[in-house]
Symmetry: C2
Subunit: 193 residues, 2 copies
DNA sequence: CACTTAAGATACACTGTGTGTCATAAATAA
DNA sequence: TTATTTATGACACACAGTGTATCTTAAGTG
């Protein structure tokens, strides 16, 4: 499921390996929050992580690769939130439940959505929505792919707007807006009453 | 209206200045199409433009600044297309007319929407939609700002999806999809029959 | 405890940025 | 046209960051 292109040939179970990677990821998160992804150098990351410069390249191909591994990790985590066993809390059925998670992780979510990996996040979201039976919305006139794309990109766009707006809008209001602008219209197109 | 931060103190009317800037902009466009914005160096640009390296910095602060000046130029041009005197061809009234323009300029539009300036394009689009009396959609429950944001981001997102999809979908179909996914729902929210 | 191997330290070549300086060519203004 | 202004080109330079190579050391593994 994870597509991080970590350099092969290392014992993933070695404590030193796990520690180094954990330190590098945490350093990236901290630095991205404080300085922004674009303004960070690999030397900054290794310095913050207290790790040798060369060591970085023993694990990742470059800055983008490290970010990618982080994104994969988060996407997997978010999937767990959006598709719980009960399925009652899925974002198209109950936006509020999802928003609670997003709000508590606002920093990291925005970091992710504002980074160069944003496109990949959208792609993964579309892919996720298209998974077998997951797509609630189906229209006779509009291709499934477009339905999924519009749903995912609208949700992400509204989420960014909300999280960047300094929380002027409450979680409850936002859920209502999402329902009116996205969910209901798409339900209507799907013939769901 | 234009916010390009061109370095001051130069005679804008001097033919040499105009020629240099035109060459640099065209070089950026060409290189972005062939190699992608991220992979271009300033040396590449000046080489392509047949302009001295140092000369670049006499006009722009850096790569982003040059892109910005290009974006400003394009946004102004697109505004003319989207808001003609007749106003009958506005995208919320007749998506088809706008799509014709977008299709013929697909390369450049995609370049722009995939560049680092994409966020600013969205901001400008929202700002444009919010201009006095321009916003057709108004809801009693949803803030104007959010209506404009959702409209703009949805249009841009659908546009990207369309232009990146190798034209599998005809202009006519796309106009229909836009109408069903965005225009009609927002009209309904506005109480427009 | 012996062995393996990841990590640290350091040096290096390379690419790209941004600035300084000066002679020259080209545009402007008279 | 001619004289003057000034944008440009051609270097040269300091600097920052990348990615690799090599050797030693320290830590984790079995």
């Amino acid at each position: 499921m994870s597509t991080s292109s970590i350099i092969l040939g290392m014992n993933e179970n070695d404590l030193r390996v796990q520690r180094t990677r954990a330190l590098l990821r945490q350093a990236l998160i901290d630095l991205v929050k404080s300085d922004g992804y674009e303004n960070i150098s690999i030397r900054d990351i290794t310095k913050k992580a207290q790790v040798g410069y060369k060591t970085f390249y023993r694990h990742y191909e470059g800055k983008d690769d490290l970010l990618q591994s982080l994104v994969d990790e988060m996407v997997d985590e978010i999937k767990q939130v959006l598709a719980p066993p009960s399925d009652i809390e899925a974002p198209d059925k109950n936006p509020l439940a999802s928003l609670t998670y997003m709000e508590t992780n606002a920093d990291l979510i925005l970091t992710l959505l504002n980074s160069t990996a944003a496109d990949q996040v959208l792609d993964k979201a579309v892919e996720f929505a298209l998974e077998e039976g997951r797509l609630t919305f189906k229209s006779d006139f509009i291709p499934d792919e477009l339905m999924a794309h519009h749903f995912a990109s609208s949700m992400i766009s509204l989420l960014r707007w909300w999280l960047e707006g300094d929380k002027q809008v409450s979680k409850l209001e936002m859920a209502l807006y999402i329902d009116q602008l996205v969910i209901r219209p798409m339900k209507a197109l799907s013939g769901i009453t």
